[in-house]
């Protein structure tokens, strides 16, 4: 009976899973594309670094903190016009991805900044001493050396996004987490709730496993 129930759910779970993957991938991609440069900016403009610039540093820090301060749901509403302009719709996974992405950028930026801080200053000095441009130092010294830390940060961000994507339900985003909430929370359907939670656990374990694996492979220390 339980199996019947589950069999019946398969298409729905399937779709929800795809929606989750869709939202998480988009937001992760945007978070990386936006958060990485922003995190680097936060780091290199810091005191004592090669692009020291208190004004830029404070401005970037302020923007990052501002986005991080606003509760997700408010951010989501505030972003609706932008979402509409960008995706042509304000509901569904695509629309949900917009706010997820915007929320993830500053989070990831902070994590990148934190990883970069762990780099040995001596190595940066060595790069400065060969006359490398800031861009080269970033590309060929900071990023490679912080890579294991950044990959850990990506893992943390991805898993946070999986969690956050459950909130996509507010705008009808769908996904596994939303399914769990819609059925498990609102409809007291334990079968779906447990199934979805198990799927989420597996997904997160997989993400963690891959993240650890890649971090280990790229860790040349």
């Amino acid at each position: 009976m339980l199996l019947d129930r589950l069999a019946e759910l398969v298409p729905e779970l399937n779709q929800a899973f795809l929606e989750t993957m869709y939202m998480v991938s988009i937001s992760l991609a945007v978070a990386i594309m936006g958060g990485l440069p922003l995190g680097i900016l936060l780091f290199v403009t810091d005191r004592g670094l090669f692009l020291e610039n208190p004004v830029v540093k404070s401005a970037a820090g302020f923007v990052v903190n501002m986005v991080r301060s606003v509760p997700f749901i408010i951010l989501l509403v505030a972003l609706l016009p932008f979402t509409r302009w960008l995706t042509g719709t304000t509901i569904g996974p695509t629309a949900a991805s917009v706010s997820l992405s915007i929320a993830a950028i500053p989070f990831f930026a902070r994590i990148v900044e934190s990883s970069l801080r762990e780099i040995d200053r001596g190595v940066i000095e060595a790069a400065i001493s060969v006359g490398a441009s800031p861009w080269m130092i970033i590309k060929d010294v900071l990023l490679p050396d912080a890579r294991p830390g950044i990959i850990h940060g990506i893992t943390i961000t991805t898993i946070s996004l999986v969690g956050y994507s459950a909130m996509a339900g507010i705008v009808g985003g769908g996904g596994i987490g939303d399914l769990a909430i819609r059925f498990g929370y609102y409809r007291y359907d334990n079968t779906i709730m447990i199934t979805t939670v198990v799927i989420l656990i597996c997904l997160v374990q997989l993400i963690q496993f891959l993240g650890d694996r890649i971090a280990r492979l790229t860790d040349k220390r």
């Binding site: 749901i73 509403v77 609706l80 509409r84 719709t89 304000t90 509901i91 569904g92 339900g169 507010i170 705008v171 009808g172 769908g174 939303d178 909430i181 819609r182 929370y185 609102y186 409809r187 007291y188």
Partner: protein, 256 residues
């Protein structure tokens, strides 16, 4: 929803509803009938009471089902929208539940009452309490923005605890009183008859299908209306939505 296609051709509908019985009602009661009429219907579930209207207004939805008349009107006014109702559907009555007190009279001074934190549902809770003489409401009371602040006189000094509506059935156990919307009470397999008091629900507080006024004359709206009026729909209600209070039109039809 493809708001741009001409009315005659429109065969793809997107209907929004809140998570729980109302989206189930669309999925199980309305969608099959519409599909027979040749529509393809997509149901979008929301866990929120603002987005379904905004999405409707923006054309992302063709219709939604989650709100009562008073809320719809206030919302439309507040947001400068042209919304119109299509037809009222069966709605589960909100009830005040308690594990501590057997009757409203037994309620002690200063008891805690968990109420929904969204204005739609909160307004209904406040109206029940007012009708039972536990509170009086300010003249400025507006269902769209109702909050515990609208309480003018609080006879038993109830302490209001706004929490998420879906959480209310779970709060019955932990608080003195809880105002639980009927749909969630049913989902949580609570017996509506256990309520200290149930909402006496005039039609204006029953949920209804709502569309943009500009669409009101379009065939799909008519088809939605017909679907709700169909025998099949009522059969689904009787089967799967036991305890939902039927609207007047349905009761009258049955009387005939």
């Amino acid at each position: 929803g493809n708001g741009e296609t001409t009315a005659e051709e429109k065969k793809e509908l997107t209907i929004g509803a809140t998570s729980g019985p109302y989206s189930d009602m669309v999925t199980k009661g309305i969608k099959p009938v519409l599909e027979k009429k040749g529509y393809t219907v997509e149901v979008v579930e929301f866990s929120d009471y603002i987005q379904p209207n905004l999405a409707l207004a923006s054309g992302d939805l063709d219709a939604n089902l989650f709100q009562h008349k008073v809320y719809m009107e206030s919302f439309a006014e507040e947001h400068d929208l042209e919304l119109s109702e299509v037809i009222v559907v069966p709605t589960a009555p909100m009830g005040i539940y308690s594990n501590r007190f057997d009757s409203l009279d037994a309620i002690e001074e200063g008891s805690q009452i968990a109420v929904p934190n969204d204005p739609t549902n909160l307004a209904r809770a406040l109206l029940i309490l007012e009708s039972e003489g536990l509170i009086t409401l300010a003249s400025s009371f507006d269902p769209l923005t109702a909050s515990e602040r609208d309480v003018e006189e609080n006879v038993k000094n109830l302490e209001f605890k706004p929490i998420e509506a879906g959480q209310l059935p779970r709060a019955v156990e932990g608080t003195d009183l809880a105002a639980v919307p009927g749909n969630y009470a049913l989902a949580a397999k609570m017996n509506l008859l256990d309520a200290l008091v149930l909402e006496t629900m005039p039609d204006k507080y029953r949920n209804r299908v709502v569309v943009n006024t500009r669409d009101l004359d379009k065939p799909f709206v008519q088809d939605i209306k017909e679907a709700v009026e169909s025998e099949e729909f009522e059969a689904v209600i009787d089967e799967e939505f036991k305890g939902f209070g039927k609207p007047e039109w349905m009761l009258e039809r049955n009387k005939e």
